[in-house]
């Protein structure tokens, strides 16, 4: 029996050929006259790796006895070791083996034993490279910078070489470990040997676990109901169902998407409005450098109208009402994955309106210790410092100042503004700086040197640095 090639897709992925009753792999590759179309395609896209788990469902007919299912692809990066076929709802079908012919690297043939003639839905799963997703957020703050609206977007980009139509799309947040890159496995193809065989066993195990997860979560992926009168056009932005799976978090996009090769598609989540947040200007030289930075801060909690699920890492574009009927671009920033309950810090950079100046006003030595030979082995330095925050905004601003003093020290005198000694080397002030004004903090810190320092071995006197010319 000779079969001729049927319609060949542009990207030529997933041509399935069925040889009815064939006893062995025929020397010539043959394709089914009627290519069984995909009943359903499901994409599970990871963001920590170039990895997409593709699950496609096709209805196939089988004759009693041994059947061959041939699956080939081209111009698409598929890890051949990941290919699996399963018949979750059919009885009397046994996958005998999978054969990777020696003369081609982009083809697999499954030998299926059927107890009797039947038609069954086959699930074919594999790892593909080239699909990616990202989370993006748009933040719009009110003019007073007390509340903002937050809209999350999920963007899927398809550079796989394959068009996916009517695909159920799910994206996964979390770090997944891969022993080898999918793209690399796809380029290499099957190289049968001991090492490869062990990889395939590993891949089988991983795939089986994923398939079990998929079955559990399939209920989430039902297509969106059509709205009468609009021929299936949705009236709502698609809901994105969110669900924790082990240490990962799954975002399942409602309904089905067409994502052509080369295209990207961004899907909005509903906007959360009137989220209270804290405006904060901060200086922390060892964390952020010498510039005063502006932050929007909140927590991923119900108090902040969030807290239902983690926020995937992603880019934030932040705007505010400019008070003139328009909008101001506050900046774009990125944020790490934020679990429920965790702080969200949107670092907007410097707006140039708040400046900081530190001046050392005194460095007096005293309380000398001498050894038996009369050499200096310990002393105190009383350092007098002024810290000035200059606010050019026409509103009072909160300012968090983290200031560092190295060594064994304590304050002898400090401005009555309240402070927190964070650790041995840092102290923090939470301040309010008046509109178009300056706030000054002054302190005297006694820094113990040599034997005056607790638990620190005596050090020889170090000369004071000479000022620059």
């Amino acid at each position: 029996m000779v079969y001729t090639r049927a319609a060949w897709r542009r990207a030529t992925l997933a041509a399935i050929a069925l040889m009815l009753g064939a006893a062995a792999i025929a020397p010539a590759k043959i394709d089914l006259v009627t290519l069984p179309g995909r009943d359903e395609t499901e994409l599970t896209i990871y963001n920590s790796q170039d990895l997409t788990l593709v699950r496609e469902t096709r209805t196939l007919s089988f004759a009693k006895g041994k059947n061959e299912i041939q699956f080939s692809w081209a111009n698409t990066l598929i890890d051949p070791t990941s290919l699996q076929i399963d018949f979750p709802s059919a009885k009397g079908l046994v996958v005998l083996d999978a054969v990777y012919p020696s003369n081609t690297s982009q083809l697999v043939v499954w030998n299926i034993e059927a107890d009797e003639p039947t038609s069954a839905q086959a699930e074919i799963t594999y790892f593909a490279s080239g699909l990616s997703w990202s989370a993006d957020y748009v933040v719009k703050a009110n003019a007073a910078e007390t509340e903002f609206s937050l809209q999350q977007f999920t963007t899927v980009r398809n550079n796989s070489g394959e068009d996916f139509n009517d695909a159920v799309t799910r994206v996964v947040v979390g770090e997944v470990n891969l022993v080898e890159l999918i793209a690399e496995l796809a380029r290499r193809g099957i190289n049968v040997g001991q090492e490869e065989a062990s990889r395939m066993v590993l891949a089988d195990a991983v795939m089986e676990a994923d398939r079990m997860d998929m079955r559990k979560s399939r209920a989430m992926n039902a297509p969106a109901p059509s709205i009468a009168g609009f021929s299936g056009m949705r009236m709502e932005a698609k809901e994105i169902v969110k669900k924790a799976v082990s240490e990962y978090f799954l975002f399942a996009v409602e309904g089905k998407e067409d994502i052509a090769s080369g295209w990207g598609k961004e899907l909005p989540n509903p906007t959360v409005t009137a989220i209270p947040f804290d405006l904060s200007y901060e200086l922390d030289p060892r964390r952020y450098g010498d510039q005063v930075l502006k932050f929007y801060k909140l927590q991923n909690t119900e108090k902040h109208k969030l807290g239902k699920e983690p926020l995937p890492d992603g880019g934030y574009y932040v705007y505010s009402d400019d008070g003139r009927g328009g909008m101001r671009f506050e900046g774009n920033t990125s944020s790490k994955y934020v679990p429920v309950g965790e702080d969200i810090e949107l670092n907007l950079g410097s707006d140039g309106l708040v400046l900081f100046e530190e001046k050392i006003q005194g460095d007096a030595r005293g309380n000398f210790d001498f050894d038996s030979s009369g050499n200096v082995i310990g002393w105190d330095v009383t350092r007098t410092v002024t810290l000035e925050i200059k606010n050019s905004r026409e509103r009072e601003i909160p300012f968090k100042l983290t200031h560092y003093i190295d060594g064994d020290w304590e304050f002898a005198k400090v401005s009555d503004t309240g402070y927190e000694r964070v650790d041995q080397t840092s102290v923090r002030w939470n301040l309010k700086v008046p509109a178009s004004g300056t706030l000054k903090i002054e302190y005297d810190a006694v820094i113990h040197q040599g034997t005056r320092s607790k638990g620190i071995a005596p050090a020889p006197p170090a000369p004071m640095p000479r000022p620059r010319r």
Partner: protein, 388 residues
């Protein structure tokens, strides 16, 4: 030269998706009703435009494409202004599609009925930069000047900003066109009688005593970003400042220029215009001794106080009194022990800087200038050997 293009298309088949070929079906090119160029962010320029667009019931596609301009694709945002929200009657953005190898995107917009929607499209555009410069025309007495603050706008974005509202608070909005490749300058603020303090300033090097050769003395004008100067409400951004002087001949001369840094409200800015010859400063180290010396058992010095006496010989050859401001650089735990002359005040700026102000009388015509000699003695306590 228009480089961005907003195109309305309507997907004729209901339920068509944004990346369908329908994107090529031009229905209307809606007129832009306003364009705002917001330069408030110091690092990026935000453009947003509003248009009225007709929507059909059901699916509509809106294409936004650009060519030859550097737009941050991730920043392009569509807002629905007439019927926003999540309710049944709202217009909604269903998805955004990004075609391959194109600077373009397509919004899939759903409208529950045929109607007109006002939309706002915003994006971050690179290549538009702003800077600030200043000009002061100083009066003949050099006590005040006509102060102008300029905003410079350079458009290298590739996009013509036609009839745009330029928004750079605290300035009032400006309505202008700024073509690509064009540089425009606007008056951002003006004060015709800005008070000016004229100073003579020396900044001698630490430990460098030029003696008879004399120290450089610069002409400096000081302006205050304060309410009494009719300023003081906003920060004066850093930039170049040029000064011109009334020459008394119904014309003016260029006095010089300087770069000033950001000057917050309440602060002063110093404008240094170059060296002067009519005020002379000679600075010498006349004493460098150790006191309160402590030695170890091997008779080596382990601790001492350093006493330094600096002499400032100042001459004013101008026929008006002047104030010389000397920025003296110091180190260690110092104090001023003694000043030998009247008309001298000091101000400790920091541990490393002392400002000495010397008032000098006007020179008398036909007579040599009076030389004022000021000795200032510093004591630096608890020096270790090797420290200077």
């Amino acid at each position: 030269m228009k480089k961005t293009l907003l195109v309305m298309t309507v997907a004729l088949a209901m339920g068509a998706v944004a990346n369908a070929p329908a994107r090529t079906k031009l229905v209307t090119l809606p007129d832009r009703s306003s364009l705002v160029t917001s330069l408030e962010n110091p690092n990026a320029t935000l453009l947003y435009e509003e248009r009225e667009i007709p929507l059909q019931q059901g699916a509509n596609s809106i294409d936004f494409a650009w060519n030859g301009v550097n737009i941050d694709q991730n920043s392009v945002l569509l807002e629905l202004l007439t019927n926003p929200g999540d309710g049944d009657t709202a217009t909604k953005v269903i998805s955004t599609a990004f075609p391959p190898n194109e600077n373009a995107l397509t919004w899939e917009v759903f409208s529950p009925e045929a109607r007109t929607e006002r939309i706002r499209v915003s994006y971050v555009l690179y290549g538009v930069s702003k800077s600030t410069s200043y000009e002061i025309h100083v009066n003949q007495k050099e006590t005040a000047g006509d102060f102008r603050q300029y905003l410079h706008l350079s458009n290298a974005s590739g996009e013509n900003l036609d009839d745009t509202v330029i928004r750079v608070p605290p300035m009032d909005d400006l309505s202008r066109s700024v073509d690509s490749g064009e540089h425009r300058r606007f008056v951002a603020a003006r004060n015709k009688e800005l008070p000016i303090q004229k100073l003579y300033v020396a900044r001698p090097g630490y430990g460098s005593f030029l003696g008879e050769d004399g120290e450089a003395v610069d002409l400096v004008y000081e302006i205050a970003n304060k309410t009494e100067s009719a300023l003081g409400k906003y920060k004066l951004p850093g930039g170049k400042i040029r000064l011109f002087g009334d020459d008394g001949l119904e014309s003016s001369i260029f006095l010089g220029e300087d770069m000033v840094s950001d000057t917050p409200p309440g602060e002063k800015a110093e404008i240094t215009l170059g060296s002067v010859k009519n005020v002379v400063l000679k600075r010498r180290l006349v004493k460098d001794e150790q006191e309160n010396i402590r030695r170890n058992t091997g008779n080596s010095v382990v601790l001492f106080d350093q006493v330094r006496q600096l002499r400032y010989e100042v001459e004013n050859f101008k026929d008006e009194p002047v104030t010389l401001k000397v920025h003296e650089t110091l180190s260690g735990d110092w104090e001023v022990r003694e000043i030998t002359s009247d008309g001298v005040t000091t101000e400790k700026k920091s541990l490393g800087e002392l400002v000495i102000l010397v008032e000098l009388p006007a020179a008398t015509k036909g007579k040599p200038a009076d030389k004022k000699i000021v000795d200032v003695t510093f004591r630096v306590k608890n020096r270790f050997p090797g420290e200077q």
